[in-house]
Symmetry: C2
Subunit: 182 residues, 2 copies
């Protein structure tokens, strides 16, 4: 849950990060930046800011903003409606992102999850993305990611986005952010 | 046809335009920038420079660079292999792009085609794209586009790209660029 003030402040911070990365938004896009707290009310630690450019029946493109040290929690995009699930490519534009996915676990991962005891972070194959680096995540593959100390801007190129179908490892998570008046 | 020197110079120009737009490329990407002269050997007038970030069986993402006044000639992406044809979204990042597509013709279009007498430019519905503006072109729809006097950088988000299947209105066009030694 976020207050209107928290939502507004996060949108401004995300818009500033995108502007610093040289990304031009329309004023309507700036005012509609999606702020996801995943229902945990700890936005600075666990959250994600998004601009959805396009999301057709075939293709989706977004910019993702992570505040310094902010984590997008572990999830996968399951098969649905005849699709094998969302395939997504992350391309780092600014800052550093540590992406964790299925595969050989890193012996000394760069990140610790926000809740080490929660059991909500189970994949530890580490991919470090710096500006110009990118990685494609196959459908239905567990992943989570965290920004370095300067935050990050990441472009996402994918098949259709159906966020409401995402499966999170942490059962406490609700994908839709609830905003209260004050 | 381009000489190696022309190819190299165009790659440097395109890389500079992308850097000015704040877009970070790896050195391998800079050295592999695609330069398309469409077989017409008039690159400054009719051509396109491309960086392909990803092109899977489902999704493609590219950056397009247009030099000042450069035109990408009229074409469509026809149905193929069970797909309705490539759906593509253009998002302007820098400069101005005039996109012409099927629909009501503009009474006073901003652009004249490079060869007004060629019959190779037949669609005149005009969409002006400035930084932050975008437009989605449905599959199998004729379109061409031209940069304003400062050139342009455009992100393209699409389904799979199969450039070799593109159908150009101008029968002289060959999509693949031939490079000769000198």
């Amino acid at each position: 849950m976020l207050t209107q003030e928290e939502l507004s402040a996060a949108r401004k911070r995300a818009a500033a990060a995108l502007a610093e990365a040289g990304i031009v938004l329309t004023s309507a896009e700036r005012e509609a930046i999606e702020v996801a707290d995943f229902g945990l009310s700890r936005l600075d630690e666990i959250g994600l800011e998004l601009v959805v450019y396009v999301n057709t029946d075939l293709v989706c493109a977004k910019e993702l903003v992570l505040f310094p040290g902010q984590t997008c929690p572990e999830h996968r995009h399951p098969p649905a409606g005849g699709s094998p699930g969302k395939e997504e490519t992350f391309r780092c534009r600014r800052g550093v992102v540590y992406l964790y996915t299925e595969g050989d676990p890193a012996p000394n991962p760069a990140c610790r999850p926000p809740d080490p005891e929660s059991g909500a972070f189970t994949v530890w194959h580490e991919i470090e993305l710096r500006p110009g680096d990118q990685h494609t995540i196959p459908p239905n593959t567990l992943h989570w990611f965290r920004a370095g100390s300067e935050g990050a801007v990441v472009s996402e190129f994918s098949t259709t986005s159906t966020d409401e179908l995402d499966v999170f490892t942490d059962p406490r998570i609700a994908r839709e952010t609830v905003v209260r008046d004050s």
